[in-house]
Chain length 225, copies 2
DNA sequence: CAGACATTCAACATATCACTTGAATGATGT
DNA sequence: ACATCATTCAAGTGATATGTTGAATGTCTG
């Protein structure tokens, strides 16, 4: 089929790239970056049928992007390699820099981006050391339990309005979620600002925090439910 | 079509990834990393028809991976962004780490890889400063003319046997070509070793050298044809 | 302006991909 | 062993991608 080793190698690379070439699979990778997930749990989160999700996962596995293990009757998938996060970061960087459409969507959705300047990881570390900010994790409770920024408070976005009492209005809030393109923290910041809070986003999500070698805190699964 | 901004953004990212998801387009990007090229010149190099090449290029352009400009009756394409090289590097890193097939091809083709340990850029810089090595650029003369490692000698692979006289047998030769997956330098090293030379490959090719911010030398188009 | 030439477009055949549905597999627990 | 449940497989349909061919576009040259 292919003439030389170069063709064969590039053909393999193309397989990996094709596996990334689907909106749904990219979204699945974002979720898997939060931690292991079973097929059905993933299917629910990305809004696809179980069978379809399973096939996408196998596509990703053939491309070497995810790995799986069996645990009882569940098959748990995870990113095959921390490098997959870096690959997605490169992909988004190139797309954001060269596709006008990406910038257009950002502006259209996040109208008041002037005040949205994200907080860098270094800045957040500095300010938590100084005790100046409340770190807010707006992901679902199970993702929080699997690992979060040390000292962070978990209020899933859907419960934010109901649990505002847990947030000191006099402290700046820095919210984060799954990654640089996850909308949860954007919406949390918008909601908090509407209530008079001083709030900003962390530049990336938890997976990037972890990939940067910064410490995680686990457990502390307060909420039940 | 897509529900939220996240879906829309990921859909754009997927477009970029799909553009990378073709053996031929990846090969075209490797060539464009050497410098601007017209459609027909590229078509010849990758072995595709002109019309087909043109369509692939437009696919790449829509994905923001290449840009073009008109020069007389030629349309010259180039990488849109130096980040595209980084994206390809991430892609190949993930593929090499997670796909057994990639390693298999490497081993099958480059049987004696033990002695093939590549030279790093830093090591090459050090050894050229010390005057210990001949740097050999085995790419075609026009690519050499568009930019090469300072002090390098250009002997296109096809002319290597005929021009061995130009290489001092007592100096180590470090050969490089288009990139980490370009076979020219592998074959040059094998040929030189068969003739008794001490020869090794540079770990990457010229585009990576340039991307690392190292100096280039231009012109010196000695050979004519 | 006419001819030459590089590139792009349009239309087509073939192959691959995405998603659905319903059945098959494989591990668990009674 | 049997029933249960998560996951995977298989088959089918509509959509998308690839590569070919021949014509159209647009720019330079004479």
């Amino acid at each position: 089929m292919s003439k030389g080793p170069k063709q064969a190698i590039y053909s393999e690379f193309a397989t990996v790239a094709r596996a990334l070439g689907s909106q749904h699979r990219l979204e699945m990778l974002e979720h898997l970056a939060q931690g292991e997930r079973g097929v059905e749990a993933l299917a629910t989160r990305v809004g696809l049928s179980v069978a379809n999700t399973s096939q996408h996962l196998q596509h990703l596995r053939r491309a070497g992007l995810v790995a799986s293990r069996r645990d009882g009757k569940f098959v748990l998938y995870r990113l095959a390699d921390i490098g997959v996060l870096g690959l997605m970061a490169s992909l988004s960087a190139v797309a954001a820099r060269n596709l006008a459409e990406v910038e257009r969507i950002r502006l259209a959705y996040f109208a008041d981006r002037d005040g949205m300047e994200p907080v860098s990881r270094e800045e957040l570390l500095q300010r938590t050391r100084d005790g100046l900010v409340t770190v807010l994790d707006v992901r679902p409770a199970d993702e929080f339990a699997a690992g979060h920024v040390p000292g962070a408070v978990n209020i899933p976005l859907g419960e934010l309005e109901a649990r505002l009492a847990g947030l000191d209005p006099d402290r700046e809030v820095v919210a984060y979620c799954r990654g640089p393109w996850c909308v949860l923290s954007f919406e949390a910041v918008a909601a908090l600002r509407a209530r008079g809070y001083t709030a900003r986003r962390l530049e990336d999500g938890l997976p990037e925090w972890q990939a940067a070698g910064l410490p995680l805190e686990r457990g502390t699964f307060e909420g039940g439910r």
